[in-house]
Subunit: 211 residues, 3 copies
């Protein structure tokens, strides 16, 4: 994909690694860690989702052959270190994270399709690419997992990847499908941020685990 | 494996994904999550063990090329959502989980042998296939890990995979070896559920970690 | 690598699997687990880092084709079970862990270079090989993660792998580069153990996560 769309996707990719990387560095900042730990968390969060996708679809892991991808998390770690992690910056980051989430959902699904993965599994790849870095960040930082928040998050990735893949299967040109998927996912995530949208929770009663 | 045994294994596989998936959905039910999170946990728990096995033995990840496997966790999530997670259903699920555990231990080891993995490592693959989905579920749901329970669980998978692989090496026909492995593992797990069997714990004293 | 250096590396590898395995068994000992759980934790900790490396660089996972590697964690589990986990042994283990950390950092980077991974990513592979087993151990044992300790740990692996890779790129013979990398990493880790060296933590304020 070295054409215009490909180049745009590459830059989107760097941007998403940077944004997710910054959210990883923020997790390190909350515990006053050193710069190496900042970078470790930025890297795991930034490239974790795409790494899992590449392992699952048996593609070469994207950053291993092209370590210039690792510049983005290093830059994210340094940026958070220098410019801090105050409340205003958190708000900016929430929105950048929403952009990264929806970009990754589309990019992840597109790469899976390009590797011959069937549409159903390609949607899953989009969701994993978008969310798994944050899942790893929360597990490793021992923070409440993004999966366990009530706010719509995984759903936005699912809608973004789903719309893209469906339009793709229907023959819509890839750029239009990508924009539509990105837009649909982002609209939902934006609504969740602004209006605290959430899906209805399980209405039944669940017996506790006894052990 | 498109013969009779192969078809039986495929159906066992779907059933195990469904059962483990249901246990994942239950973890989501305990925290009143929405249907997307239900499905996410059902999928991770249902296919997590087999996914790790396939990555380790360098096989194509089983559900990526055949996304119909993903129907099972979706069905499990919907079933738990509709039929609830009361105490009686938990008991049923404990027993279904025992069936799934022992089925997966044998299926996982069989697939590893079919890919040329040496017997010792094939046993490990059986254990990982059977237990890793539950481990992922507990880590992501922030529940006490199945690994850390006193009750015999991993050991049942180890016995099931071990008996199957040993009989296989000794030249016993595969179906007989599979049934023997499944039976041995299930007998042990059933004993653990009914009689709360456990192996003796470490008798020594362990100094706490100081940091 | 079946020459002298190769054989030495293989033995270093077994030794590192044993040492990290023992630290995994210790985590199980702290909670009075049974021998199967001891072995499970020893195996995950001992081979986890190298397994991730091999998946990422698309090498056959080192212990799958050669299950004799699994003897080392079994031996480590038995050794901790028999000889206990008292305070004096913990101190010995801290030092053995430091040796394993720096050995793995170099071995992991060397294997990555041998598989054609670019230098920047090879350093990352060294760090992951050295640290990921311990990260898995802590996540699965629900202990405070080695990543979140203030003491220098990841940094020692980074220096060890970094020095080795840089000298390698500069054309220094591999054995000399390996010894220099190992020595540099170990000096830093030893300083951290003896003098409780740490890097400066993030000086800014971090707003808490609100959800």
């Amino acid at each position: 994909m070295e054409d215009g769309l490909g180049a745009a996707l590459t830059w989107l990719d760097y941007a998403a690694v940077f944004v997710f990387g910054a959210s990883g560095a923020l997790a390190a900042a909350r515990r006053k860690h050193d710069i190496v730990t900042f970078t470790f968390f930025a890297a795991v969060t930034g490239v974790g989702g795409g790494t899992l996708r590449d392992l699952l679809i048996d593609a070469p892991v994207f950053w291993v052959g092209r370590p210039e991808y690792l510049i983005a998390p290093v830059a994210a770690a340094v940026a958070v270190w220098l410019f801090g992690a105050g409340r205003a910056r958190l708000l900016i980051l929430t929105w950048l994270d929403a952009l990264g989430l929806c970009a990754y959902a589309v990019v992840g699904a597109a790469k899976a399709l390009a590797f011959g993965v069937p549409p159903g599994a390609a949607v899953v790849m989009g969701v994993l690419t978008a969310t798994f870095g944050g899942v790893l960040r929360d597990v490793l930082a021992e923070e409440p997992s993004v999966l366990l928040k009530r706010e719509i998050y995984v759903t936005a990735a699912l809608v973004g990847a789903g719309v893209f893949v469906i339009l793709n299967v229907l023959g819509v040109p890839q750029l239009a499908a990508a924009l539509a998927g990105f837009g649909a996912g982002f609209a939902i995530r934006a609504g969740a941020i602004v209006f605290r949208w959430s899906l209805p929770g399980f209405p039944g009663r669940a017996a506790p685990d006894e052990d």
